[in-house]
């Protein structure tokens, strides 16, 4: 079974600054996806960024980027130029690519990020 660990229950960052959220995972799979989802106070889960394990290049989506270290099983999220709208819970998630249990997301427990004006 896969496990996803987010070691920072809460974090805060000043507006316009940069913050990094940590995520580690444990798996014996070689092919998989990793995701960061955002859950604002409105409660709906929104995809922030995704990474395929076979790709060495780190994914980037505007102000959001990841540092994917496959050997270390680490998948951190960097938010640059933080905005008040980034205040939310952030969940790291793992998905097997194939075989039994694939297509299912395994979530970490989340990191609550507060952006301070």
């Amino acid at each position: 079974a896969q496990t996803v660990t987010q070691s920072q229950p809460e974090m805060s960052v000043q507006e316009a600054e940069t913050v990094t959220l940590s995520c580690t995972y444990d798996t014996s799979e070689n092919n998989y996806y990793l995701f960061w989802y955002k859950q604002p106070p409105s409660r709906q889960m929104i995809l922030v960024i995704r990474q395929e394990a076979y790709k060495q290049q780190n994914a980037t989506e505007n102000r959001f980027s990841v540092n994917f270290q496959k050997a270390a099983k680490s998948f951190s999220l960097k938010i640059s130029d933080s905005q008040l709208g980034d205040t939310a819970m952030y969940f790291c998630a793992f998905m097997k690519y194939s075989g039994a249990g694939s297509y299912q997301l395994t979530f970490g427990k989340g990191t609550k990020l507060s952006v301070i004006p």
Binding site: V4, P9, Y33, F35, S42, R43, Q44, M45, I46, L47, R50, F91, M95, Y97, S98, S102, Y103, Q104, L105, T106, F107, G108, K109, G110
Partner: protein, 117 residues
């Protein structure tokens, strides 16, 4: 742009009562999921379905039943509600990873808050 719609959004039950949560998606997704979210626990998979007429157990299936009679609908039932089932329930859907161009992203509903007294 309905996406994934859950009904009801809020419900209060007494111990032993039964109820059904309805999830509907209009994106023609093959896969559908029910997750529960509890404080400090992230999201945990209850049941999922990889196609019409098929269902499977997730991580925490006890006390719940599901049905997928139509491709667009996924029902979650509680036959005899217990206080331990007080939670926020999320439905999600996705394309099969075998579909060309699919990213593995899950699309979530807005959640249903259930309280069992």
């Amino acid at each position: 742009n309905a996406g994934v719609t859950q009904t009801p959004k809020f419900r209060v039950l007494k111990t032993g009562q039964s109820m059904t949560l309805l999830c509907a998606q209009d994106m023609n997704h093959e896969y559908m999921y029910w997750y529960r979210q509890d404080p400090g626990m992230g999201l945990r998979l209850i049941h999922y379905s990889v196609g019409e007429g098929t269902t499977a157990k997730g991580e925490v299936p006890d006390g719940y039943n599901v049905s997928r009679l139509k491709k667009q609908n996924f029902l979650l039932g509680l036959e005899s509600a217990a206080p331990s089932q007080t939670s926020v329930y999320f439905c999600a859907s996705s394309y099969s990873l075998g579909t060309s161009g699919v990213t593995g992203e899950l699309f979530f509903g807005e959640g249903s808050r259930l309280t069992v007294l």
